[in-house]
């Protein structure tokens, strides 16, 4: 028993099995558990939605889109600053087309592209590379996985929606001579802004994840997301434009972007115009919120159900 390697490998009380005991030991450190696994999955998803922790090529699309989404805010601040230089320029300020209430409509295209680019990455890559079995062998359950992934995209979309608005907010505050006065002047916009951003992130994020849960192939998921987000509003626009409001009303409530237009108009208390050229649809405000809620809950349920049935 003077051999040092034997002394490490075999405890004295089990001499019989000593040849085969090569010293494997159980992990006895702290186990971080399910909650920690969900948190890690969430933050990992959020990071990878912006390409953080991935290669340069994965960063290009999300960061370029975020930049494009912020350009209107920067441009309008430049215009505001310029107008202040002219006597009577303030009169035009209310006429400028980019405000808190119009910003969501302004960047919808970028937002949709962001969903189409990143949602299939979050659900599709794990399926393509057969990684699901590895995840599910851990403390993470299938529902946790789905919720954490969806949460990651929703958080990424929230950032996407709020960064340009924050630029606009800060810029407008700094443009006023008295900063405290400026903050007070801009504060009323804060609540509708946050509410609308949360609704948009949840609805578009949930729906695009539901689409991409169904196909690991990026091309189909991308086409499906774009078709789902853009075509219903065009169809609704055509039908409403023809004057057939009964059908049009239902089509509007099937179109995610039109639903968000409706909630936006209510939250900011502005008339619902834009895509339907002022044709009164006569839909109660609550209908838009109900449709949004159905869309959010339904899409998340579909993703969870799909993940539960997927062979890992």
């Amino acid at each position: 028993m003077n051999d040092p390697t034997m002394a490490v490998a075999t405890p004295a009380e089990t001499p019989a099995g000593s040849i085969y005991d090569i010293g494997y030991r159980r992990y006895e450190g702290p186990r971080l558990g399910r909650a920690h696994a969900v948190r890690s999955m969430f933050s990992y998803s959020l990071r990878s939605a912006y390409g953080i922790g991935r290669g340069t090529r994965a960063k290009i699309a999300p960061l370029l889109l975020l930049t494009l989404a912020a350009i209107p805010a920067i441009a309008i601040l430049a215009a505001l600053a310029l107008l202040r230089q002219f006597p009577g320029g303030e009169a035009f300020e209310e006429e400028l087309p980019i405000r808190y209430d119009t910003y969501f409509g302004t960047i919808t295209t970028f937002l949709i592209l962001f969903c189409a680019a990143q949602a299939p990455e979050l659900f599709g890559r794990d399926q393509r590379h057969s990684l699901l079995a590895l995840y599910f062998a851990r403390a993470l359950r299938r529902t946790d996985y789905a919720l954490a992934r969806i949460g990651g995209l929703v958080a990424a979309l929230l950032i996407f929606l709020l960064v340009p608005q924050a630029i606009l907010f800060l810029g407008r505050v700094l443009l006023s001579a008295d900063v405290l006065d400026g903050v007070a002047g801009e504060l009323p916009a804060l609540a509708p802004l946050l509410g609308q951003a949360a609704l948009a992130a949840l609805l578009l994020g949930g729906l695009s994840m539901a689409v991409s849960a169904f196909t690991p192939r990026r091309a189909y998921a991308v086409a499906g997301i774009i078709a789902l987000f853009i075509i219903p509003s065009i169809v609704a626009g055509v039908v409403v434009g023809l004057g057939s409001r009964d059908v049009g009303r239902w089509l509007v409530l099937l179109s995610p972007t039109s639903i968000l237009d409706g909630t936006n108009a209510f939250l900011f208390d502005t008339p619902l115009g834009g895509s339907f050229e002022g044709i009164a649809l006569g839909l109660p405000d609550v209908a838009y919120f109900a449709a949004a809620a159905v869309g959010i809950v339904g899409s998340i349920a579909i993703s969870i159900r799909r993940l539960a049935r997927l062979t890992a």
């Binding site: 090529r57 592209l113 091309a219 991308v222 774009i226 078709a227 853009i230 075509i231 055509v238 057939s244």
Partner: protein
């Protein structure tokens, strides 16, 4: 001979079950809108703008994007293109065959759908002229879009999202802000061709010159795609 063989293989690859169903659904949407319009009124006179917003702006680029990138890019991405690229086939023949097949498939799906939708939406007398003009426009547009997107998918590995950005941002948002940018917009070419055939149907920025631009764009896309594919190095299996 080689051309038809490459075309046959491409056709079989493109007609996957899921893809076909998804594309048929997309192609069915204009017809569905036509039926909705017909059910609620006796048709409208502005067929052009209605179909422009739906077919030329979204459905055509989307279908062409899926077929165009699937014909070449996805093969390069998953590595099966090696079997084609290591054979003694001119690379330009490969690009030509792929674009021809994907473009024909896109046109086969969308031209009938556009024509039927135009006939359904248009008021009596307006519909048939618009149907012809839009049908020809979509026919040409199918090949140009597919050629552009196929070339994009050879040039970059993110051809899908870049093509989408081109269709939605460049052809969509920039058209309102920077009209000059639309000299490089396939959508404007299609609208121009429709205007050339039926001036009352459509009002495009470039007018009839769109037909010429479309031809130039088609040739340019195929040449660039061929040159890039010709320089494509097949690397050893990892």
């Amino acid at each position: 001979m080689i051309f038809s063989e490459v075309a046959r293989v491409t056709l079989r690859a493109l007609l996957g079950r899921r893809r076909t169903i998804l594309m048929l659904l997309l192609a069915g949407i204009p017809i569905l809108v036509g039926l909705l319009v017909r059910a609620n009124s006796s048709g409208v006179s502005d067929v052009g703008p209605t179909l422009d917003g739906l077919v030329i702006r979204i459905v055509l680029p989307l279908v062409a994007l899926v077929f165009g990138t699937a014909a070449l890019g996805s093969e390069l991405e998953d590595g099966t293109a090696v079997h084609l690229l290591t054979k003694p086939i001119r690379r330009s023949t490969i690009v030509l065959a792929k674009v021809a097949v994907a473009g024909t498939l896109t046109a086969l799906l969308l031209v009938p759908s556009t024509v039927i939708a135009a006939l359904l939406i248009g008021r009596a007398g307006v519909g048939s002229e618009a149907a012809l003009a839009m049908g020809v426009g979509v026919l040409v547009g199918s090949y140009v879009y597919v050629a552009v997107f196929a070339t994009l998918s050879v040039l970059t590995s993110r051809g899908l999202i870049i093509g989408l950005g081109y269709a939605l941002i460049w052809e969509g948002l920039l058209a309102g802000v920077l009209p000059g940018s639309q000299a490089f917009s396939v959508r404007e070419y299609v609208r121009g061709i429709a205007e050339l055939l039926a001036p009352s149907t459509m009002d495009s920025m470039g007018g009839g010159a769109g037909a010429l631009y479309a031809a130039v764009a088609l040739v340019a896309a195929i040449v660039i795609g061929s040159l890039r594919l010709a320089a494509y190095e097949v690397r050893g299996a990892e």
